[in-house]
Symmetry: C2
Subunit: 296 residues, 2 copies
Protein backbone atom coordinates (compact mmCIF):
# COMPACT_ATOMS: atom_id res chain seq x y z
CA UNK A 1 0.00 0.00 0.00
CA UNK A 2 1.40 3.37 -1.00
CA UNK A 3 1.25 6.13 1.55
CA UNK A 4 -0.92 8.88 0.13
CA UNK A 5 -1.43 12.36 1.53
CA UNK A 6 -4.48 14.49 0.78
CA UNK A 7 -4.51 18.30 0.66
CA UNK A 8 -7.01 20.95 -0.26
CA UNK A 9 -6.50 24.55 -1.37
CA UNK A 10 -8.99 27.41 -1.46
CA UNK A 11 -8.05 30.32 -3.70
CA UNK A 12 -10.21 33.36 -3.05
CA UNK A 13 -9.83 36.98 -4.08
CA UNK A 14 -8.31 37.96 -0.73
CA UNK A 15 -6.94 34.78 0.83
CA UNK A 16 -5.41 31.51 -0.19
CA UNK A 17 -5.71 28.59 2.20
CA UNK A 18 -3.92 25.28 1.98
CA UNK A 19 -4.63 22.45 4.38
CA UNK A 20 -4.07 18.79 4.97
CA UNK A 21 -7.23 16.70 5.11
CA UNK A 22 -7.45 13.47 7.06
CA UNK A 23 -10.69 11.56 7.53
CA UNK A 24 -12.70 14.42 5.98
CA UNK A 25 -11.26 17.00 8.39
CA UNK A 26 -8.71 19.77 8.06
CA UNK A 27 -5.94 18.78 10.48
CA UNK A 28 -3.56 21.66 9.71
CA UNK A 29 -3.73 24.69 7.45
CA UNK A 30 -1.89 27.76 6.27
CA UNK A 31 -3.56 30.99 5.21
CA UNK A 32 -1.97 33.83 3.23
CA UNK A 33 -2.90 36.86 1.16
CA UNK A 34 -3.50 35.66 -2.39
CA UNK A 35 -0.63 36.30 -4.82
CA UNK A 36 -1.66 38.32 -7.84
CA UNK A 37 -0.59 36.05 -10.66
CA UNK A 38 -1.42 32.36 -11.13
CA UNK A 39 2.32 31.65 -10.94
CA UNK A 40 2.61 33.45 -7.61
CA UNK A 41 -0.41 31.60 -6.21
CA UNK A 42 1.04 28.31 -7.47
CA UNK A 43 4.30 29.01 -5.64
CA UNK A 44 2.40 29.86 -2.46
CA UNK A 45 0.61 26.53 -2.67
CA UNK A 46 3.84 24.61 -3.30
CA UNK A 47 5.56 26.32 -0.37
CA UNK A 48 2.57 25.70 1.87
CA UNK A 49 2.60 22.01 0.97
CA UNK A 50 6.25 21.81 1.97
CA UNK A 51 5.52 23.60 5.21
CA UNK A 52 2.69 21.14 5.87
CA UNK A 53 5.26 18.40 5.31
CA UNK A 54 3.77 16.94 2.17
CA UNK A 55 5.81 14.02 0.82
CA UNK A 56 5.44 10.86 -1.18
CA UNK A 57 2.24 10.51 -3.16
CA UNK A 58 0.31 13.79 -2.79
CA UNK A 59 -3.19 14.50 -4.00
CA UNK A 60 -4.30 18.13 -4.05
CA UNK A 61 -7.76 19.47 -4.80
CA UNK A 62 -8.00 23.20 -5.52
CA UNK A 63 -11.18 25.24 -5.21
CA UNK A 64 -10.66 28.45 -7.14
CA UNK A 65 -12.86 31.55 -7.44
CA UNK A 66 -14.10 31.81 -11.02
CA UNK A 67 -15.41 29.66 -13.79
CA UNK A 68 -13.58 26.38 -14.23
CA UNK A 69 -13.93 24.37 -17.44
CA UNK A 70 -15.45 21.01 -16.51
CA UNK A 71 -13.63 19.28 -19.37
CA UNK A 72 -10.11 20.63 -18.94
CA UNK A 73 -9.97 22.03 -15.40
CA UNK A 74 -8.68 25.37 -16.75
CA UNK A 75 -9.77 28.54 -15.01
CA UNK A 76 -11.73 30.11 -17.86
CA UNK A 77 -12.38 33.45 -16.19
CA UNK A 78 -12.08 34.68 -12.64
CA UNK A 79 -13.28 38.28 -12.35
CA UNK A 80 -12.25 38.48 -8.69
CA UNK A 81 -8.71 37.23 -9.31
CA UNK A 82 -8.36 38.91 -12.70
CA UNK A 83 -7.33 35.63 -14.34
CA UNK A 84 -8.36 34.41 -17.77
CA UNK A 85 -7.75 31.01 -19.31
CA UNK A 86 -5.23 29.72 -16.76
CA UNK A 87 -4.03 26.12 -16.63
CA UNK A 88 -3.82 26.24 -12.86
CA UNK A 89 -3.14 22.53 -12.41
CA UNK A 90 -0.12 22.83 -14.70
CA UNK A 91 1.19 25.89 -12.82
CA UNK A 92 0.85 24.18 -9.45
CA UNK A 93 2.43 20.92 -10.63
CA UNK A 94 5.38 22.90 -12.02
CA UNK A 95 5.83 24.98 -8.89
CA UNK A 96 5.64 21.84 -6.76
CA UNK A 97 8.20 20.06 -8.93
CA UNK A 98 10.60 22.96 -8.31
CA UNK A 99 10.47 22.24 -4.59
CA UNK A 100 10.71 18.49 -5.15
CA UNK A 101 7.05 17.49 -4.79
CA UNK A 102 5.06 15.32 -7.15
CA UNK A 103 1.33 16.09 -7.21
CA UNK A 104 -1.94 14.88 -8.61
CA UNK A 105 -4.04 18.04 -8.96
CA UNK A 106 -7.77 18.62 -9.48
CA UNK A 107 -9.27 22.08 -9.98
CA UNK A 108 -12.87 23.02 -9.24
CA UNK A 109 -14.83 26.23 -8.79
CA UNK A 110 -14.56 27.29 -5.13
CA UNK A 111 -18.29 27.34 -4.46
CA UNK A 112 -18.84 23.98 -6.13
CA UNK A 113 -16.04 22.58 -3.98
CA UNK A 114 -17.69 24.08 -0.89
CA UNK A 115 -21.04 22.54 -1.76
CA UNK A 116 -19.29 19.22 -2.28
CA UNK A 117 -17.72 19.57 1.16
CA UNK A 118 -21.14 20.22 2.74
CA UNK A 119 -22.59 17.29 0.79
CA UNK A 120 -19.91 14.83 1.85
CA UNK A 121 -19.26 15.82 5.42
CA UNK A 122 -21.42 18.79 6.41
CA UNK A 123 -25.06 19.83 6.28
CA UNK A 124 -25.82 17.76 3.17
CA UNK A 125 -24.69 14.42 4.54
CA UNK A 126 -27.16 11.60 4.04
CA UNK A 127 -28.89 13.13 1.01
CA UNK A 128 -28.52 12.57 -2.74
CA UNK A 129 -29.66 15.98 -4.03
CA UNK A 130 -28.71 19.30 -2.48
CA UNK A 131 -28.37 22.89 -3.49
CA UNK A 132 -25.88 25.09 -1.72
CA UNK A 133 -26.69 28.80 -1.65
CA UNK A 134 -23.91 30.95 -0.25
CA UNK A 135 -24.60 34.58 0.49
CA UNK A 136 -21.49 36.66 1.00
CA UNK A 137 -20.54 39.74 -0.94
CA UNK A 138 -22.25 38.03 -3.89
CA UNK A 139 -24.43 34.92 -4.07
CA UNK A 140 -22.75 31.72 -5.12
CA UNK A 141 -24.24 28.31 -5.40
CA UNK A 142 -23.76 24.73 -6.38
CA UNK A 143 -25.84 21.64 -7.00
CA UNK A 144 -25.37 18.00 -6.20
CA UNK A 145 -27.81 15.86 -8.18
CA UNK A 146 -27.98 12.11 -7.77
CA UNK A 147 -24.82 12.23 -5.68
CA UNK A 148 -22.82 14.06 -8.33
CA UNK A 149 -21.71 17.64 -8.65
CA UNK A 150 -23.62 19.36 -11.46
CA UNK A 151 -20.88 21.26 -13.25
CA UNK A 152 -22.87 22.15 -16.35
CA UNK A 153 -21.78 22.29 -19.95
CA UNK A 154 -19.32 25.15 -19.43
CA UNK A 155 -18.81 25.15 -15.68
CA UNK A 156 -21.76 27.46 -14.96
CA UNK A 157 -23.94 24.93 -13.12
CA UNK A 158 -25.32 26.21 -9.83
CA UNK A 159 -24.58 29.90 -10.53
CA UNK A 160 -27.93 30.63 -8.93
CA UNK A 161 -27.07 34.18 -7.88
CA UNK A 162 -27.10 35.20 -11.52
CA UNK A 163 -30.43 33.71 -12.45
CA UNK A 164 -32.92 36.48 -13.20
CA UNK A 165 -35.19 37.71 -10.41
CA UNK A 166 -36.54 40.77 -12.19
CA UNK A 167 -36.42 41.43 -15.92
CA UNK A 168 -34.82 44.82 -16.62
CA UNK A 169 -34.20 45.04 -12.88
CA UNK A 170 -31.28 46.29 -10.80
CA UNK A 171 -27.85 46.36 -12.43
CA UNK A 172 -25.69 43.45 -11.25
CA UNK A 173 -21.93 43.22 -10.80
CA UNK A 174 -21.92 40.64 -13.61
CA UNK A 175 -23.06 43.21 -16.17
CA UNK A 176 -26.60 41.87 -16.58
CA UNK A 177 -29.75 43.19 -14.93
CA UNK A 178 -32.11 41.83 -12.34
CA UNK A 179 -30.00 38.93 -11.00
CA UNK A 180 -30.94 37.57 -7.56
CA UNK A 181 -27.53 38.74 -6.37
CA UNK A 182 -28.34 42.33 -7.31
CA UNK A 183 -31.05 42.32 -4.57
CA UNK A 184 -29.82 39.93 -1.91
CA UNK A 185 -26.04 39.71 -2.19
CA UNK A 186 -24.16 41.49 0.61
CA UNK A 187 -22.99 44.26 -1.71
CA UNK A 188 -26.54 44.88 -2.94
CA UNK A 189 -28.02 45.05 0.55
CA UNK A 190 -25.31 47.52 1.58
CA UNK A 191 -25.71 49.65 -1.55
CA UNK A 192 -29.48 49.83 -1.19
CA UNK A 193 -29.24 50.83 2.46
CA UNK A 194 -26.69 53.49 1.57
CA UNK A 195 -28.97 54.91 -1.13
CA UNK A 196 -31.81 55.12 1.39
CA UNK A 197 -29.90 56.53 4.35
CA UNK A 198 -26.60 57.91 3.05
CA UNK A 199 -24.79 55.61 5.46
CA UNK A 200 -22.38 52.83 4.57
CA UNK A 201 -22.81 49.84 6.89
CA UNK A 202 -22.03 46.15 6.53
CA UNK A 203 -24.89 43.79 5.66
CA UNK A 204 -24.68 42.21 9.11
CA UNK A 205 -24.75 45.62 10.82
CA UNK A 206 -27.86 46.52 8.84
CA UNK A 207 -29.36 43.19 9.91
CA UNK A 208 -28.69 43.99 13.58
CA UNK A 209 -30.52 47.35 13.29
CA UNK A 210 -33.76 45.98 11.91
CA UNK A 211 -35.66 46.44 15.18
CA UNK A 212 -35.07 50.18 15.40
CA UNK A 213 -34.29 51.31 11.85
CA UNK A 214 -37.14 51.11 9.31
CA UNK A 215 -34.73 51.40 6.36
CA UNK A 216 -32.73 48.45 7.65
CA UNK A 217 -35.94 46.46 8.10
CA UNK A 218 -37.11 47.31 4.60
CA UNK A 219 -33.83 46.41 2.91
CA UNK A 220 -33.63 43.04 4.64
CA UNK A 221 -37.30 42.26 4.18
CA UNK A 222 -36.80 42.65 0.43
CA UNK A 223 -33.63 40.53 0.48
CA UNK A 224 -35.43 37.74 2.37
CA UNK A 225 -38.26 37.79 -0.15
CA UNK A 226 -35.72 37.55 -2.98
CA UNK A 227 -33.85 34.66 -1.34
CA UNK A 228 -37.16 32.84 -0.77
CA UNK A 229 -37.91 33.19 -4.49
CA UNK A 230 -34.45 31.88 -5.29
CA UNK A 231 -35.25 28.74 -3.26
CA UNK A 232 -38.65 28.48 -4.96
CA UNK A 233 -36.88 28.59 -8.32
CA UNK A 234 -34.56 25.79 -7.21
CA UNK A 235 -37.58 23.71 -6.18
CA UNK A 236 -39.16 24.19 -9.59
CA UNK A 237 -36.06 23.56 -11.65
CA UNK A 238 -34.12 20.90 -9.77
CA UNK A 239 -36.38 19.88 -6.85
CA UNK A 240 -33.56 19.18 -4.41
CA UNK A 241 -34.35 17.54 -1.10
CA UNK A 242 -32.24 19.95 0.92
CA UNK A 243 -30.96 23.50 0.54
CA UNK A 244 -27.83 24.39 2.49
CA UNK A 245 -27.67 28.11 3.23
CA UNK A 246 -24.24 29.44 4.01
CA UNK A 247 -21.74 32.17 3.31
CA UNK A 248 -20.38 35.00 5.43
CA UNK A 249 -23.56 37.07 5.44
CA UNK A 250 -25.75 34.12 6.49
CA UNK A 251 -23.25 33.23 9.22
CA UNK A 252 -23.13 36.75 10.63
CA UNK A 253 -26.86 37.50 10.44
CA UNK A 254 -28.33 35.49 13.28
CA UNK A 255 -31.73 34.03 12.33
CA UNK A 256 -31.51 34.92 8.64
CA UNK A 257 -31.49 31.29 7.45
CA UNK A 258 -34.67 30.61 9.45
CA UNK A 259 -36.47 33.65 8.07
CA UNK A 260 -35.57 32.71 4.51
CA UNK A 261 -36.76 29.15 5.14
CA UNK A 262 -40.09 30.37 6.51
CA UNK A 263 -40.67 32.77 3.61
CA UNK A 264 -39.79 30.04 1.10
CA UNK A 265 -42.19 27.57 2.70
CA UNK A 266 -44.93 30.17 2.50
CA UNK A 267 -44.32 30.56 -1.23
CA UNK A 268 -44.19 26.85 -2.03
CA UNK A 269 -47.73 26.12 -0.91
CA UNK A 270 -49.28 22.73 -0.25
CA UNK A 271 -49.12 20.86 -3.57
CA UNK A 272 -45.35 20.75 -3.71
CA UNK A 273 -42.90 19.24 -1.27
CA UNK A 274 -40.67 22.00 0.07
CA UNK A 275 -36.98 21.23 0.41
CA UNK A 276 -35.45 21.18 3.89
CA UNK A 277 -33.56 24.39 4.46
CA UNK A 278 -30.57 24.08 6.77
CA UNK A 279 -27.54 26.15 7.72
CA UNK A 280 -24.12 25.21 6.38
CA UNK A 281 -21.82 23.49 8.87
CA UNK A 282 -18.26 23.65 7.58
CA UNK A 283 -18.02 27.45 7.44
CA UNK A 284 -14.62 28.64 6.21
CA UNK A 285 -13.30 25.10 5.64
CA UNK A 286 -15.99 23.92 3.19
CA UNK A 287 -14.08 24.71 0.00
CA UNK A 288 -10.79 23.35 1.27
CA UNK A 289 -12.31 20.04 2.43
CA UNK A 290 -14.59 19.70 -0.60
CA UNK A 291 -11.77 20.38 -3.04
CA UNK A 292 -9.62 17.77 -1.31
CA UNK A 293 -12.41 15.18 -1.44
CA UNK A 294 -12.95 15.92 -5.14
CA UNK A 295 -9.30 15.02 -5.75
CA UNK A 296 -9.83 11.47 -4.51
CA UNK B 1 -33.00 -15.25 -26.44
CA UNK B 2 -36.46 -14.23 -25.30
CA UNK B 3 -38.60 -12.27 -27.69
CA UNK B 4 -39.43 -8.95 -26.06
CA UNK B 5 -41.88 -6.33 -27.27
CA UNK B 6 -41.66 -2.67 -26.33
CA UNK B 7 -44.60 -0.29 -26.01
CA UNK B 8 -45.13 3.26 -24.90
CA UNK B 9 -48.23 5.02 -23.62
CA UNK B 10 -48.91 8.74 -23.32
CA UNK B 11 -51.73 9.69 -20.95
CA UNK B 12 -52.80 13.29 -21.39
CA UNK B 13 -55.84 15.18 -20.20
CA UNK B 14 -57.63 14.78 -23.53
CA UNK B 15 -56.02 11.82 -25.29
CA UNK B 16 -54.38 8.55 -24.47
CA UNK B 17 -51.96 7.10 -27.01
CA UNK B 18 -50.49 3.62 -27.00
CA UNK B 19 -47.89 2.55 -29.53
CA UNK B 20 -45.37 -0.11 -30.31
CA UNK B 21 -41.77 1.08 -30.45
CA UNK B 22 -39.14 -0.66 -32.57
CA UNK B 23 -35.64 0.74 -33.05
CA UNK B 24 -36.62 4.01 -31.31
CA UNK B 25 -39.59 4.59 -33.61
CA UNK B 26 -43.34 4.29 -33.22
CA UNK B 27 -44.32 1.65 -35.74
CA UNK B 28 -48.03 1.51 -34.90
CA UNK B 29 -50.25 3.41 -32.49
CA UNK B 30 -53.78 3.81 -31.20
CA UNK B 31 -55.25 7.07 -29.93
CA UNK B 32 -58.42 7.46 -27.85
CA UNK B 33 -60.15 9.96 -25.61
CA UNK B 34 -58.78 9.49 -22.10
CA UNK B 35 -61.00 7.52 -19.74
CA UNK B 36 -61.86 9.42 -16.60
CA UNK B 37 -60.67 7.03 -13.90
CA UNK B 38 -57.27 5.38 -13.60
CA UNK B 39 -59.02 2.02 -13.94
CA UNK B 40 -60.71 3.07 -17.16
CA UNK B 41 -57.41 4.37 -18.58
CA UNK B 42 -55.70 1.14 -17.55
CA UNK B 43 -58.34 -0.91 -19.41
CA UNK B 44 -57.88 1.28 -22.49
CA UNK B 45 -54.15 0.61 -22.40
CA UNK B 46 -54.63 -3.14 -21.96
CA UNK B 47 -57.11 -3.28 -24.84
CA UNK B 48 -54.82 -1.21 -27.04
CA UNK B 49 -51.92 -3.55 -26.32
CA UNK B 50 -54.06 -6.49 -27.42
CA UNK B 51 -55.09 -4.64 -30.55
CA UNK B 52 -51.43 -3.90 -31.26
CA UNK B 53 -50.86 -7.67 -30.90
CA UNK B 54 -48.71 -7.55 -27.81
CA UNK B 55 -47.64 -11.01 -26.65
CA UNK B 56 -44.87 -12.77 -24.81
CA UNK B 57 -42.58 -10.60 -22.78
CA UNK B 58 -43.97 -7.04 -22.91
CA UNK B 59 -42.33 -3.90 -21.58
CA UNK B 60 -44.49 -0.80 -21.30
CA UNK B 61 -43.39 2.70 -20.43
CA UNK B 62 -46.14 5.16 -19.50
CA UNK B 63 -45.79 8.91 -19.62
CA UNK B 64 -48.57 10.40 -17.53
CA UNK B 65 -49.62 14.01 -17.03
CA UNK B 66 -48.98 14.97 -13.41
CA UNK B 67 -46.39 14.53 -10.72
CA UNK B 68 -44.97 11.03 -10.49
CA UNK B 69 -43.09 9.90 -7.38
CA UNK B 70 -39.53 9.05 -8.44
CA UNK B 71 -39.23 6.40 -5.71
CA UNK B 72 -42.51 4.51 -6.17
CA UNK B 73 -43.77 5.46 -9.64
CA UNK B 74 -47.15 6.43 -8.16
CA UNK B 75 -49.01 9.35 -9.71
CA UNK B 76 -48.94 11.70 -6.73
CA UNK B 77 -51.19 14.37 -8.20
CA UNK B 78 -52.44 15.07 -11.69
CA UNK B 79 -54.53 18.26 -11.77
CA UNK B 80 -55.40 17.77 -15.43
CA UNK B 81 -56.60 14.19 -14.99
CA UNK B 82 -58.05 14.77 -11.53
CA UNK B 83 -56.08 11.86 -10.08
CA UNK B 84 -54.42 11.75 -6.68
CA UNK B 85 -52.07 9.06 -5.33
CA UNK B 86 -52.70 6.44 -8.01
CA UNK B 87 -50.63 3.27 -8.36
CA UNK B 88 -50.95 3.39 -12.12
CA UNK B 89 -48.47 0.57 -12.79
CA UNK B 90 -50.53 -1.73 -10.56
CA UNK B 91 -53.78 -0.77 -12.32
CA UNK B 92 -52.30 -1.38 -15.77
CA UNK B 93 -50.68 -4.69 -14.80
CA UNK B 94 -54.02 -5.86 -13.37
CA UNK B 95 -56.02 -4.75 -16.41
CA UNK B 96 -53.48 -6.45 -18.69
CA UNK B 97 -53.62 -9.67 -16.67
CA UNK B 98 -57.38 -9.72 -17.20
CA UNK B 99 -56.83 -9.87 -20.95
CA UNK B 100 -54.03 -12.41 -20.60
CA UNK B 101 -50.98 -10.14 -20.90
CA UNK B 102 -48.00 -10.04 -18.61
CA UNK B 103 -46.28 -6.65 -18.41
CA UNK B 104 -43.28 -4.90 -16.98
CA UNK B 105 -44.47 -1.31 -16.42
CA UNK B 106 -42.58 1.94 -15.78
CA UNK B 107 -44.37 5.23 -15.07
CA UNK B 108 -42.88 8.66 -15.66
CA UNK B 109 -44.19 12.21 -15.91
CA UNK B 110 -45.28 12.84 -19.51
CA UNK B 111 -43.03 15.84 -20.08
CA UNK B 112 -40.00 14.10 -18.56
CA UNK B 113 -40.70 11.15 -20.85
CA UNK B 114 -40.94 13.52 -23.82
CA UNK B 115 -37.63 15.16 -22.95
CA UNK B 116 -36.10 11.72 -22.64
CA UNK B 117 -37.43 10.88 -26.10
CA UNK B 118 -35.86 14.04 -27.56
CA UNK B 119 -32.61 13.28 -25.73
CA UNK B 120 -32.38 9.71 -26.96
CA UNK B 121 -33.63 10.00 -30.51
CA UNK B 122 -34.67 13.59 -31.27
CA UNK B 123 -33.22 17.08 -31.01
CA UNK B 124 -31.05 16.22 -27.98
CA UNK B 125 -29.15 13.37 -29.56
CA UNK B 126 -25.38 13.53 -29.14
CA UNK B 127 -25.45 15.66 -25.99
CA UNK B 128 -25.15 14.84 -22.29
CA UNK B 129 -27.09 17.77 -20.79
CA UNK B 130 -30.32 19.16 -22.19
CA UNK B 131 -33.33 21.06 -21.00
CA UNK B 132 -36.64 20.54 -22.72
CA UNK B 133 -39.06 23.47 -22.56
CA UNK B 134 -42.51 22.69 -23.93
CA UNK B 135 -44.94 25.51 -24.44
CA UNK B 136 -48.51 24.38 -24.93
CA UNK B 137 -51.48 25.43 -22.84
CA UNK B 138 -49.00 25.55 -19.97
CA UNK B 139 -45.21 25.35 -19.88
CA UNK B 140 -43.71 21.99 -19.05
CA UNK B 141 -40.09 21.05 -18.92
CA UNK B 142 -37.55 18.41 -18.13
CA UNK B 143 -33.83 18.10 -17.63
CA UNK B 144 -31.28 15.52 -18.62
CA UNK B 145 -28.04 16.03 -16.71
CA UNK B 146 -25.00 13.86 -17.32
CA UNK B 147 -27.10 11.56 -19.48
CA UNK B 148 -29.70 10.99 -16.77
CA UNK B 149 -33.20 12.31 -16.30
CA UNK B 150 -33.29 14.74 -13.38
CA UNK B 151 -36.42 13.65 -11.55
CA UNK B 152 -35.82 15.59 -8.36
CA UNK B 153 -36.52 14.63 -4.77
CA UNK B 154 -40.30 14.50 -5.21
CA UNK B 155 -40.71 14.30 -8.97
CA UNK B 156 -40.71 18.07 -9.49
CA UNK B 157 -37.43 18.30 -11.42
CA UNK B 158 -37.66 20.36 -14.59
CA UNK B 159 -40.99 22.03 -13.71
CA UNK B 160 -39.55 25.19 -15.19
CA UNK B 161 -42.89 26.76 -16.05
CA UNK B 162 -43.59 27.22 -12.36
CA UNK B 163 -40.34 28.86 -11.43
CA UNK B 164 -40.94 32.50 -10.48
CA UNK B 165 -40.58 35.18 -13.12
CA UNK B 166 -42.11 38.02 -11.14
CA UNK B 167 -42.60 38.12 -7.39
CA UNK B 168 -46.23 38.93 -6.55
CA UNK B 169 -46.90 38.78 -10.28
CA UNK B 170 -49.75 37.35 -12.37
CA UNK B 171 -51.87 34.62 -10.82
CA UNK B 172 -50.96 31.19 -12.22
CA UNK B 173 -53.11 28.10 -12.78
CA UNK B 174 -50.98 26.36 -10.12
CA UNK B 175 -52.22 28.70 -7.39
CA UNK B 176 -49.00 30.63 -6.97
CA UNK B 177 -48.13 34.01 -8.45
CA UNK B 178 -45.69 35.20 -11.06
CA UNK B 179 -44.73 31.82 -12.62
CA UNK B 180 -43.17 31.91 -16.09
CA UNK B 181 -46.24 30.00 -17.29
CA UNK B 182 -48.53 32.81 -16.16
CA UNK B 183 -46.93 35.07 -18.81
CA UNK B 184 -45.88 32.78 -21.63
CA UNK B 185 -48.03 29.65 -21.47
CA UNK B 186 -50.66 29.42 -24.22
CA UNK B 187 -53.49 30.08 -21.76
CA UNK B 188 -51.76 33.18 -20.42
CA UNK B 189 -51.07 34.64 -23.86
CA UNK B 190 -54.71 34.08 -24.81
CA UNK B 191 -56.06 35.54 -21.57
CA UNK B 192 -53.88 38.64 -21.82
CA UNK B 193 -54.91 39.26 -25.41
CA UNK B 194 -58.56 38.85 -24.43
CA UNK B 195 -58.18 41.36 -21.60
CA UNK B 196 -56.67 43.86 -24.03
CA UNK B 197 -59.05 43.39 -26.96
CA UNK B 198 -62.12 41.58 -25.69
CA UNK B 199 -61.50 38.86 -28.27
CA UNK B 200 -60.78 35.23 -27.58
CA UNK B 201 -58.23 33.84 -30.04
CA UNK B 202 -55.78 30.94 -29.91
CA UNK B 203 -52.15 31.69 -29.10
CA UNK B 204 -51.12 30.73 -32.64
CA UNK B 205 -53.81 32.98 -34.16
CA UNK B 206 -52.54 35.87 -32.04
CA UNK B 207 -49.02 35.05 -33.25
CA UNK B 208 -50.15 35.21 -36.88
CA UNK B 209 -51.66 38.70 -36.36
CA UNK B 210 -48.54 40.34 -34.96
CA UNK B 211 -47.81 42.27 -38.15
CA UNK B 212 -51.11 44.12 -38.21
CA UNK B 213 -52.41 44.01 -34.61
CA UNK B 214 -50.43 46.00 -32.00
CA UNK B 215 -52.08 44.13 -29.11
CA UNK B 216 -51.02 40.80 -30.62
CA UNK B 217 -47.48 42.13 -31.10
CA UNK B 218 -47.35 43.40 -27.51
CA UNK B 219 -48.61 40.16 -25.97
CA UNK B 220 -46.13 38.03 -27.88
CA UNK B 221 -43.24 40.41 -27.38
CA UNK B 222 -43.76 40.06 -23.62
CA UNK B 223 -44.05 36.27 -23.87
CA UNK B 224 -40.79 36.06 -25.87
CA UNK B 225 -39.02 38.20 -23.28
CA UNK B 226 -40.32 35.89 -20.54
CA UNK B 227 -39.24 32.73 -22.37
CA UNK B 228 -35.79 34.24 -22.96
CA UNK B 229 -35.51 34.84 -19.21
CA UNK B 230 -36.59 31.26 -18.57
CA UNK B 231 -33.70 30.07 -20.73
CA UNK B 232 -31.34 32.49 -18.97
CA UNK B 233 -32.45 31.00 -15.66
CA UNK B 234 -31.68 27.50 -16.97
CA UNK B 235 -28.21 28.66 -18.03
CA UNK B 236 -27.53 30.02 -14.58
CA UNK B 237 -28.90 27.07 -12.62
CA UNK B 238 -28.05 24.02 -14.69
CA UNK B 239 -25.93 25.32 -17.60
CA UNK B 240 -27.17 22.78 -20.14
CA UNK B 241 -25.47 22.58 -23.51
CA UNK B 242 -28.73 22.52 -25.45
CA UNK B 243 -32.31 23.68 -24.93
CA UNK B 244 -34.99 21.87 -26.90
CA UNK B 245 -38.03 24.08 -27.45
CA UNK B 246 -41.23 22.24 -28.25
CA UNK B 247 -44.90 21.92 -27.48
CA UNK B 248 -48.00 22.71 -29.50
CA UNK B 249 -47.67 26.49 -29.29
CA UNK B 250 -44.03 26.45 -30.44
CA UNK B 251 -44.95 24.09 -33.28
CA UNK B 252 -47.82 26.24 -34.49
CA UNK B 253 -46.10 29.62 -34.16
CA UNK B 254 -43.67 29.69 -37.04
CA UNK B 255 -40.42 31.42 -36.11
CA UNK B 256 -41.15 31.61 -32.38
CA UNK B 257 -38.28 29.28 -31.40
CA UNK B 258 -35.83 31.47 -33.34
CA UNK B 259 -37.08 34.68 -31.75
CA UNK B 260 -36.80 33.20 -28.27
CA UNK B 261 -33.28 31.97 -29.06
CA UNK B 262 -32.21 35.42 -30.28
CA UNK B 263 -33.68 37.20 -27.24
CA UNK B 264 -32.01 34.68 -24.91
CA UNK B 265 -28.62 35.13 -26.57
CA UNK B 266 -28.98 38.88 -26.16
CA UNK B 267 -29.56 38.43 -22.43
CA UNK B 268 -26.69 36.01 -21.84
CA UNK B 269 -23.97 38.40 -22.87
CA UNK B 270 -20.36 37.57 -23.67
CA UNK B 271 -18.90 36.14 -20.49
CA UNK B 272 -21.14 33.08 -20.46
CA UNK B 273 -21.54 30.35 -23.02
CA UNK B 274 -25.13 30.36 -24.26
CA UNK B 275 -26.80 27.01 -24.77
CA UNK B 276 -27.79 25.96 -28.27
CA UNK B 277 -31.50 26.48 -28.73
CA UNK B 278 -33.16 24.07 -31.13
CA UNK B 279 -36.69 23.01 -32.05
CA UNK B 280 -38.05 19.67 -30.85
CA UNK B 281 -38.17 16.93 -33.48
CA UNK B 282 -40.45 14.17 -32.27
CA UNK B 283 -43.58 16.32 -31.96
CA UNK B 284 -46.58 14.29 -30.76
CA UNK B 285 -44.60 11.05 -30.38
CA UNK B 286 -41.95 12.32 -27.96
CA UNK B 287 -43.68 11.15 -24.78
CA UNK B 288 -44.67 7.78 -26.20
CA UNK B 289 -41.17 6.99 -27.48
CA UNK B 290 -39.42 8.42 -24.42
CA UNK B 291 -41.64 6.49 -22.02
CA UNK B 292 -40.97 3.27 -23.94
CA UNK B 293 -37.20 3.85 -23.85
CA UNK B 294 -37.38 4.55 -20.11
CA UNK B 295 -38.92 1.10 -19.66
CA UNK B 296 -35.84 -0.61 -21.05
Amino acid sequence: MSREMLFGADIGASHIRVGRVVAERVVQKIEETTGRSPQAAARQIADALLELRASGMVRLGIGCAGRVCPQTGRVVFSPNLGWRDVDLAFEVVRAAAEVGLELLVTVENDVNAGVWGEFRCGAGRGTRNIAGVFVGTGIGGGLVIGGKLLRGASGGGGEVGHAPFEAEGARCACGRRGCFEAYAGGWAVEARYERMTGRRLKASEIWARRGSDPSAAEVWSKAIEVLAHLLLMLSAVVDVERVVLGGGVVERCNGLADEVAAAYKGLVGDDWDAADVVAAQLKGDATLVGAALLAL
